[in-house]
């Protein structure tokens, strides 16, 4: 939460706690607006105003409320819940209200999260090398970049005129320019209209940062995951949902995206999930290499960890904290990808708060505004033309944890109405350790057509054709499997048996990918494509052989084809694929 200079806030009248029930506290005589941040009780626990009725104000508290009693004071800050924006957000790990967890550990002197301790989201004392990109006399408008700071080895942080400093279309003159080492609170640029620009901004989390225009996304967010890039791609600026029952690999898929997606910035929001999983990210990411440039992955990542046992109100806000930080980097012209794991926990936090407020419940006890909140969140993603004329994107990928794995529940359904990519995780596949266990029959991507031109330019002319071929084979397999379940495989005609064999390679070699294998974990689109063409080579040659009278048993029993399954783990895959194609062709042709 923003602590940077509690500016000349008008002192508000303090209130008195009237009642306490879990994370919901009501106070009397508090002069507050909706969504103001307040400090509750003698310990000063942070909270937010969520309801005002007569002289009673209801507050959701972001910290544990044990021991808080009626009669204790409530202090209003008069400001909405905001985040601190500025250099230092990358390589950081926050809780749901942007308190840096490493700083909290130091301040609390304990591995446990204590109460009533606050810390600014960015280090206010650390000095950064500021390099101006404007000169005295230049005209600047809102959001314009006025300087650059090297935030991490990977990312140059662009210092911008705050979007609320000027009106739309208005420009003003730069009157003073500094250069050198400054902390984030010092003024580095002065403008003629009186605005002092520092490296630090604040922005209320529940409000989208302004943009000039939203455009149709046409570039894929390449993930290095075959089934995603190959069959169900997401665009930079796109939205995706990953629903699945527990154990089906939501988190692994999210982690893979965070590691290998070709975005400039990754915001990873662990919303109500496991502590050990966040620890894994904290331990792994600094050591992992960014596939784009070999720098540590943490240099482009900001983590928000509000684990399931941390206060539920902070879980409600962590999604907003994440998307606001994402928008800030978007304004600099970066492609940002935000992973939210899991949006169901966020929805449940809303439900919990709503039920404590005794609001009339909607479906399954969720508040009636669930759909609206989900839509608002996903609408903040997109491919944008920013107010300063640059282009940037925010891609939002939300995991969904439907109770009992039943996709008909409200969170999944309301999410599907908004997102354009759907990666359905399947417990059956997970059970047989087919990972990623994304069901190819149920999943879809509505970005396919608008992304095909990119793949055709960058990878191969017939990218879309090949994909369609694979989809057709898999569809046919699904139908054939139904018959096989009844009569057995051997009762099928030879050509259908062969189709099953081809489909098996598609499933085992192409769709499965081992996230824990050092090579297979990341598969560039070129390799994805080559793998598919190898399977197609086998398909074509095998059917030629069948036509020439070779029995299907002999075709299936060849030596070269099973090596298709090993393409994934080959580092020098181009050579391997070339040889393999030749061998498959040679072996199958030698049969007739």
């Amino acid at each position: 939460m923003s602590k940077a200079e509690s500016t000349e806030t008008t002192p508000s009248e303090d209130g008195v706690i009237q009642s306490v029930s879990g994370p919901v506290v009501s106070a009397r005589d508090l002069d507050a607006r909706m969504n103001d941040v307040v400090y509750v009780g003698d310990e000063g626990l942070m909270g937010e105003v969520i309801e005002i009725e007569g002289d009673i104000t209801t507050i959701q508290v972001y910290e544990e409320t044990s021991g808080v009693s009626p009669g204790e004071p409530v202090e209003n800050t008069g400001e909405p819940l905001s985040v601190d924006l500025g250099p230092g957000m990358l390589d950081a790990i926050y809780d749901g209200v942007q308190r840096p967890l490493d700083v909290l550990e130091g301040k609390m002197g304990s591995p446990y999260l204590d109460r009533g301790v606050d810390a600014p989201g960015i280090d206010l004392e650390k000095e950064w090398e500021f390099e101006p990109t404007v000169e005295v006399g230049d005209e600047v408008g809102r959001g314009d970049v006025v300087g650059v700071v090297e935030e991490t080895v990977t990312i140059d942080h662009k210092v911008m005129v705050p979007p609320d400093a000027l009106d739309e279309g208005e420009t003003t003159e730069v009157t003073a320019v500094e250069s050198g080492s400054f902390d984030v609170t010092e003024t580095v640029i002065e403008l003629a209209n009186g605005t002092d620009v520092s490296m630090h901004q604040e922005w209320p989390v529940r409000e989208a940062r302004p943009s000039a225009n939203k455009k149709t996304p046409r570039t894929p967010l390449v993930s290095g995951q075959r089934i995603l890039d190959g069959l169900f791609p997401i665009a930079k600026g796109g939205t995706a949902a990953i629903p699945g029952p527990f154990g089906s690999g939501k988190t692994v898929t999210q982690h893979q995206l965070a590691k290998y997606a070709d975005a400039d910035i990754i915001i990873y929001v662990g919303c109500g999930e496991r502590g050990n999983e966040m620890t894994e990210v904290i331990e792994d990411f600094p050591e992992l290499e960014d596939p784009a440039n070999g720098n540590p992955l943490m240099a482009r990542t900001s983590l928000i960890a509000n684990t399931s046992n941390m206060p539920v109100a902070a879980r409600e806000s962590c999604i907003y904290t994440g998307i606001t930080i994402a928008e800030y980097y978007r304004d600099m012209g970066y492609d940002v990808a935000l992973m939210a794991d899991s949006t169901s926990r966020w929805a449940e936090a809303m439900r919990e708060i709503s039920s404590r407020l005794e609001e009339m419940p909607g479906e399954e006890g969720y508040p009636a505004y669930l759909a609206a909140r989900l839509a608002q969140f996903y609408e903040r993603a997109g491919y944008f033309e920013n107010v300063n004329g640059t282009e940037g994107s925010v891609s939002a990928i939300g995991a969904v944890s439907p109770p009992g794995g039943d996709f008909s529940e409200p969170v999944t359904q309301n999410t599907l109405r908004i997102v354009k990519t759907f990666w359905a995780l399947d417990a059956d596949l997970a059970e047989r350790r087919h990972f990623p266990s994304i069901n190819w029959n149920e999943s879809y991507s509505l970005y396919k057509d608008q992304l095909d031109p990119w793949f055709e330019d960058e990878v191969a002319d017939d990218w879309a054709e090949k994909r369609q071929w694979a989809v057709d084979v898999l569809d046919e397999e699904t139908e054939l499997q139904e018959i096989v379940q009844l009569v057995g495989k051997d009762a099928l005609p030879d050509d259908q048996q062969l189709t099953l064999e081809v489909a098996r390679y598609l499933r085992e070699a192409y769709l499965q990918q081992n996230a824990f294998h050092p090579v297979d974990t990341y598969c560039p689109p070129e390799k994805t494509y080559l793998m598919l063409t190898t399977i197609e080579t086998f398909n074509d040659e095998a059917f030629d052989a069948l036509e020439a009278g070779v029995p299907v048993e002999e075709i299936v029993d060849t030596e070269a084809a099973p090596r298709i399954n090993r393409i994934g783990v080959q580092e020098d895959y181009e050579e391997y694929v070339e040889e393999l194609k030749a061998e498959i062709t040679e072996e199958l042709r030698s049969l007739y």
Partner: protein, 473 residues
């Protein structure tokens, strides 16, 4: 400390009383009935002038003349190393006629969340000696791995086997001092006296009791007390692990009873119910228990949890197993079908899962081929399982030679790998060797998930090479 005789309403486990001072949320309350009995409770909601109190022992015997005392503090657990070897009731009071417990510290039972930044990622293999767990769904220190079972299944035997065997390797290696580093904390919630006796007898027989702390809330004990028991257990566990360097294994049984108690309180408070009448905050509540497992940087000890839950109707989409599965790092399924076939332990490995496994196995931890062997066995067993359905329709003869091999593999997997008996303790080497014996029933090129190098090294070319590492018993 003020006493009130101002009870206005008594409803189920709840008592409402008028007060004229500020009472803290979660504060502990003592209620003295006219008969002189003292009951304990906790503030569930505190408003000006009136508080709602949840009474642990149940409200029977309370009338409007009962006096209410607020102790001015939240619930605490007196902790000390001397708790080892003791048997306590569900609220942490000794019931074993032993000496009075002199606490070293009194700790808040709610427990603060561990800062994710301060955690250490669990990756130390725990050898449970159970092949279906060690080989296929490995447990690591600091993990929470529940057993999903249903009524009438031998989940207690499995839990006892794990508690007994998991400690063994360290005892062998280390001197006496090291062997004391392992502790079991057993939290019983609403189980029957008989079940409790089984655990106690096993603890006494194997000498495990002296390094255990037992909390007993039995079926006829007050249900509301069950909401406190696991917090007492985990507070003790955290103390022993993070302040006294023990590796603590926590067994909580039965979580289903805990959740029923939550529902009871929710209903008494007339809360808006969530799925199947369970409170909407059950996910958060369960998370506050399960997330207390883990390791902390710079601390020696660890808290590993094995909660047991009986799934109503053996249905894992029921809210209790469902929410649990979303919080815990995997689950072990006890399968009624396998149990009726006589498998011991009747673990169904296919739906079972250990999320922390991948970082806890491999070269230097277990063996370099472990991950591949596991993957291949999962795939082969799943294939065999599928074919069983088909065999029922078309018969074995209609299947190809390879399919028949998969069927044989599935049978052998159950009889040789899974069915080891509750008394046999297999080390990981033995488990993997049995794995290779079984995998060698399949042709080499069917082993597509295993690195060629490992196939070269471990694959049994013909039957005579199969080292029969059969059950030693």
């Amino acid at each position: 400390m003020k006493e009130y005789q101002t009870i206005t309403e008594i409803s189920g486990p709840l008592v409402y009383a008028e007060v004229d001072e500020a009472i803290g949320y979660d504060e502990i309350v003592e209620i003295e009935t006219a008969q002189g009995e003292t009951l304990r409770g906790q503030v569930l909601e505190s408003s000006e002038g009136v508080v709602a109190i949840q009474v642990f022992e149940g409200t029977s015997g309370i009338d409007q003349n009962a006096s209410v005392r607020f102790l001015g503090e939240t619930m605490k657990m007196p902790v000390t190393e001397d708790l080892l070897g003791r048997v306590l009731d569900g609220s942490g009071r000794p019931i074993d006629d032993g000496p009075e417990i002199v606490p070293e510290e009194r700790q808040d039972i709610v427990g603060a969340a561990i800062n994710p930044y301060s955690r250490e990622y669990p990756e130390e293999f725990i050898e449970t000696g159970v092949s279906a767990i060690d080989g296929m769904n490995t447990l690591v220190r600091g993990q929470k791995l529940p057993i999903f079972s249903s009524s009438g299944q031998p989940h207690s035997e499995l839990a006892m086997q794990i508690a007994r065997q998991a400690s063994v390797p360290e005892e062998e290696e280390g001197d006496d001092e090291e062997s004391s580093e392992f502790a079991v904390i057993f939290g019983a919630m609403g189980i029957t006296q008989e079940e409790a006796n089984e655990f106690m007898e096993d603890f006494e027989r194997t000498g495990a009791l002296e390094r255990s702390v037992v909390f007993m809330n039995l079926a006829d004990d007050p249900a509301v007390e069950r909401t406190v028991t696991p917090r007492m257990v985990l507070t003790t566990a955290e103390y022993l692990a993070f302040e006294k360097d023990y590796h603590v294994l926590v067994i909580l049984t039965d979580m289903t009873n805990y959740c029923e108690a939550l529902r009871e309180i929710g209903a008494a408070r007339e809360e808006v119910p969530g799925r199947r009448g369970y409170p909407g905050y059950m996910y958060t509540d369960l998370a506050q228990l399960y997330e207390r497992a883990g390791r902390i940087q710079g601390r020696e000890g660890s808290v590993t949890q094995i909660p047991i839950l009986t799934m109503p109707g053996d249905d894992d989409t029921h809210p209790i197993p469902d929410l649990t599965g979303y919080i815990t790092e995997g689950q072990i399924y006890v399968d009624p079908d396998l149990n009726s076939q006589g498998l011991q332990p009747p673990i169904n490995v296919l739906p079972s899962l250990s999320r922390l496994m991948d970082d806890g196995i491999g070269e230097g931890l277990t063996r370099e081929d472990h991950a591949d062997v596991k993957d291949q066995m999962f795939a082969a067993y799943a294939e065999g399982e599928d074919l069983r359905d088909l065999v029922n329709i078309v018969g074995r003869e209609a299947l190809s030679e390879l399919d028949n091999k998969y069927l044989d593999f599935a049978d052998a997997f159950e009889s040789e790998f899974v069915d080891q008996g509750f008394d046999q303790n297999r080390d990981i080497e033995e488990t993997l060797e049995i794995g290779w014996d079984l995998l060698s029933m399949l042709p080499k090129d069917a082993l597509n998930r295993i690195d060629e190098e490992f196939i070269e090294e471990y694959y049994r070319e013909d039957d005579s090479e199969r080292e029969v590492v059969e059950a030693a018993d």
